[in-house]
């Protein structure tokens, strides 16, 4: 029997430790509490059954507000305000406003009994959706929200200001229709004392923080709500009034320019710059919907997007064709470009005009970046050797054998050259004697290129170990990632940054090896990070180029390319240059991630570009090396 559940401890005394009513409580001798369906700042919201209808199950929502004011007079005023507002709401009849059935006060708690809405609120919908919500869906909800706000704003004798528009206050019922669930009624329960939070952080306009709330405040908050839905960026986690710093289309490029413009107008800092009324807001949404075809759902494809013109006006200064794919990164030394090629050759070209100077044949593919020192260019090859070739003649000076393919790029410091090999070792070779000073066995292939800073040599291996060795080849510390570290590290201000195939970008203290932070990318990465201006730039096989704040690990921006990003980005002046397996070389503003231009090659780009004297040099799998104006 249903009615048996009514028995039990008396009404409001039946509380859990955190002060919520337990299910089974009979509140006010009428409402049988079933479950907590929400927790707000002032108290909880329950689903309850109305026992005045014993023969049918009539569900209601019971909203509880706890009166925390210590002063009896203030408490009384609060209860009066609550009852006055409940009376106003009880007269409202609109499909998007839940009906009010009852209200009452017991001790220091006041209760509002409302229509139970069977559905989910937008915050829950957002958190349960993986990708972005469809633009036309958000547009439709926005139009419905304008309609119900217009109904409230046109209320006579006084307009009703909702004051608390945010995703969690908007329910979507089973007919995919919106219902506003939490009226500003609760506001009178907030104490206005010094040090108190005011408004709903993130969605409220600046003037609401000065105590002004009019129809323009609701317009702003609706704009903020739509911004959150379209971008999935929770404004409560951002500084107040910072929507201007997060343009919608930068985060979700699929959103139409038209809708973005409408929402930007609603989000203007100055109330006078917003729409005059919520009716104007709605008209603007409708017109954006018509222009984009979203309203008719005719055009679901965001096609015809105005893209930055491809290769527009970008003619290579020169291009040079090798006999096979260029997988590595070029080097500039004394006016010449040196680049390894999968045809086993190292090419030397005149940097000014791409004129062929010489080529030197190793016996395996060259995938790394060469390094030059005192007129000798050094590079590793898949023929297991490190080659030292005279830059003027292209003739071999000496070579050094390892027991595995050399894919790691060499680095020179203190008259020694350091590089890894697939023979599991890091080799330190003295440039005067051409013999190894030491080798360090890591237990797995070393394809990561060492980085030398503060008298330590940093590199990773294919078992996921990361090492810091001193100049004598002793391990100072090591750190274990979950998977291969093919990426080459970068050291900046005593922090080592590197990527791993486990999908993380790691920031590790350079002296002790303690992990400071890690940043999760969507897929594994072999890209080497670079640090400029306290920003870490890197890429991942998830196709993104990322910019991350070095101190806080906060993502500043990400840019989506058409395929995996395997080559490292380069920063030059105000721009970032990075290639992608989609064949493009991208040039972005490094502070914002905005695309400046892109240049199409006919094959994947896996190496890093080189920029020197305003010229970008980039090799592609299409066998060409290109020189472009930066």
């Amino acid at each position: 029997m249903e009615t048996q559940r009514i028995d039990g401890p008396n009404g409001s005394e039946n509380r859990s430790t955190i002060g919520q009513l337990n299910s089974g409580t009979n509140l006010g001798n009428r409402y049988l509490i079933q479950d907590v369906i929400g927790v707000g700042g002032m108290g909880s919201v329950y689903r309850a059954r109305d026992l005045h209808f014993p023969n049918v199950v009539k569900l209601v929502a019971v909203k509880e507000m706890i009166n925390q004011a210590p002063d009896p007079l203030v408490r009384q005023t609060i209860v009066h305000n609550f009852e006055r507002e409940a009376n106003i709401l009880a007269t409202l009849s609109h499909p998007s406003i839940p009906r009010i059935y009852d209200y009452f006060t017991l001790d220091n708690r006041s209760y509002l009994v409302l229509e139970f809405v069977n559905g989910k609120d937008l915050e829950a919908i957002l958190s349960q959706t993986d990708g972005t919500l469809a633009e036309e869906q958000i547009l439709a909800w926005g139009i419905q929200l304008c309609e119900v706000l217009a109904f409230l704003h046109h209320h006579k004798p006084d307009p009703i200001i909702f004051r608390d528009m945010k995703p969690s206050n908007v329910m979507i019922n089973q007919h995919n229709h919106i219902v506003l669930v939490d009226f500003g009624i609760a506001k009178s329960f907030q104490s206005g004392q010094k040090g108190t939070m005011i408004g709903t952080e993130g969605y409220s306009p600046p003037e609401q923080y000065r105590g002004e709330a009019n129809t323009k405040a609701d317009i702003y908050a609706l704009g903020a709500t739509m911004h959150h839905l379209l971008t999935r960026r929770d404004p409560r986690l951002e500084p107040p009034f910072s929507f201007g710093e997060r343009p919608i289309r930068k985060i979700n490029p699929n959103v139409s320019m038209e809708l973005e413009t409408v929402i930007n107008t609603a989000l203007q800092y100055n109330p006078d710059d917003r729409f005059n009324s919520v009716d104007d807001f709605k008209d603007a949404l409708l017109s954006a919907g018509r222009k984009t075809g979203l309203l008719n759902r005719i055009n679901l494809n965001p096609s015809g997007q105005a893209n930055v013109s491809v290769n527009s006006g970008i003619k290579p200064v020169w291009a040079f064709q090798c006999e096979d794919e260029l997988r590595g990164t070029p080097l500039m030394y004394n006016g010449a470009i040196y680049t390894g090629c999968y045809d086993n050759n190292l090419y030397a070209l005149n940097a000014a005009n791409g004129e062929f100077l010489w080529k030197y044949a190793s016996e395996g593919g060259i995938v790394g970046r060469p390094v030059a020192y005192e007129d000798i260019v050094y590079f590793g090859s898949e023929d297991h050797r490190l080659h030292a070739v005279n830059t003027r003649t292209g003739k071999i000076s000496w070579s050094y054998y390892t027991d595995g393919r050399v894919r790691s790029s060499p680095r020179i410091s203190e008259n020694h050259i350091f590089f890894g090999s697939d023979d599991y070792c890091l080799h330190a070779v003295n440039l005067s004697t051409n013999r190894n000073a030491w080798i360090f066995d890591t237990g797995s292939e070393v394809r990561s290129s060492p980085f030398i800073a503060g008298e330590l040599v940093y590199f990773g291996n294919e078992a996921g170990d990361f090492f810091a060795l001193d100049y004598r080849g002793n391990a100072k510390w090591r750190y274990k990632a979950k998977r291969n570290i093919t990426s080459s590290p970068w050291v900046h201000e005593n922090v080592v940054y590197f990527n791993s195939m486990d999908g993380y970008l790691y920031a590790v203290d350079a002296k002790t090896g303690w992990l400071i932070w890690r940043f999760r990318m969507e897929k594994p990465s072999i890209v080497s990070p670079v640090v400029v201006d306290n920003m870490v730039f890197t890429g991942s096989s998830d196709g993104h180029i990322y910019a991350i704040e070095a101190k806080s690990a906060k993502e500043l921006w990400r840019f989506k390319t058409g395929h995996q990003v395997n080559g490292s980005p380069i920063i030059y002046k105000d721009a970032l240059y990075c290639g992608s397996v989609d064949g493009y070389l991208y040039c972005l503003e490094y502070k914002t991630g905005r695309l400046k231009w892109k240049f199409e090659t006919q094959g994947p780009i896996t190496g890093a570009p080189l920029v020197y004297n305003d010229i970008v040099y980039i090799g592609s799998h299409d066998h060409f090396i290109y020189a472009l104006l930066a």
Binding site: P206, Y269, N434, K476, W517
Partner: protein
């Protein structure tokens, strides 16, 4: 195949093949060896933290609602010892019930969480390396404090600024308007936290000036605090501890009364950091002491 034999017969075999092109190889000369060794001399300098803290209820409040926590030691690192320090200030929100409980709960929850994580390291017990990063630990500690404050002092609120020093890395977790400053040896003072206050935000947006912010009637209104609001995102950052400089953590009872350049002057003019810290508190009281005053001053030696 070669690798296979090497594994069987050990690694003693010289892996280097003779160089080509008439290059004669020779062992390193003593001079060469010396120059290599000179680069890598292992000097042992005990790097450690010098810490002091001070607190005053101020001259206009009856209750102290600030809480502070300091702990300093050194831990055995992978190859050398590293200083380890944890410093926290929490300022319970005035006008709220149980502000002092909130601030005390916050420092306890954060110190508990972090010290438990480093328990084995601190006591030199066998341990597996921590999976989480320093920033993840700090973030989880602040989230733990948020839970604890909501549970133990519902309806109250507190700021919290926590600094974890490990080696030369200083990791900050921050909510509210207490502040962390780095003071460099050339007396330059830099705030490394950002106030989560309404006036600071309005100031950042150019809506009001710094002078207006200092006297704004709502200058105590925070938009983010522990125990307030449903979601909480702490600001996290890691910066190098300045060599020859200081870390100062303080509540608004200090920075709201004494200008930044005045604070750094007081610190540099004092003969010891203990005196400097006390002089900071005294200066705030001399300026009226409108609020509780708490300060922690840390120096990295070695």
């Amino acid at each position: 195949m070669l690798n296979f034999f090497r594994k069987i017969f050990g690694k003693k075999e010289e892996p280097v093949k003779p160089a080509m092109d008439n290059i004669v190889t020779a062992p390193l000369s003593d001079v060469q060896l010396q120059s290599i060794r000179a680069m890598t001399v292992n000097r042992f300098e005990p790097s450690q933290l010098l810490v002091t803290s001070a607190q005053s209820v101020g001259r206009q409040r009856e209750l102290n609602e600030d809480s502070l926590f300091t702990l300093s030691t050194t831990i055995a690192g992978h190859s050398s010892n590293a200083p380890f320090g944890l410093f926290i200030i929490a300022d319970g929100m005035g006008g709220h019930q149980y502000g002092e409980i909130a601030s005390n709960t916050a420092i306890r929850a954060i110190s508990d969480y972090i010290l438990k994580k480093f328990h084995n390291t601190l006591f030199h017990l066998p341990s597996i390396p921590l999976e989480e990063s320093l920033q993840e630990i700090m973030q989880a500690a602040v989230a733990e404090a948020q839970r604890a404050v909501l549970h133990e002092a519902p309806g109250s609120g507190t700021t919290v600024t926590a600094a974890l020093v490990l080696g030369q890395q200083l990791t900050i977790g921050h909510v509210g308007d207490s502040r962390g400053y780095l003071i460099y040896s050339e007396q330059r003072m830099e705030a490394i936290t950002r106030d989560h206050s309404l006036v600071r935000r309005l100031e950042e947006l150019g809506q009001i000036t710094a002078a207006e912010a200092a006297v704004h009637p709502q200058r105590n209104v925070l938009y983010r605090a522990l125990g307030q609001g449903e979601t909480l995102e702490a600001d996290l950052s890691t910066t190098p501890f300045p060599i020859g400089g200081y870390l100062l953590i303080c509540s608004d009872g200090l920075w709201g009364v004494i200008p930044d350049d005045e604070m750094s002057k007081i610190i540099f003019e004092a003969p010891t950091i203990q005196r400097g810290c006390q002089n900071l508190i005294a200066a705030a009281n001399a300026a009226g002491g409108p609020d509780n005053i708490s300060a922690i001053l840390v120096q990295l030696l070695g």
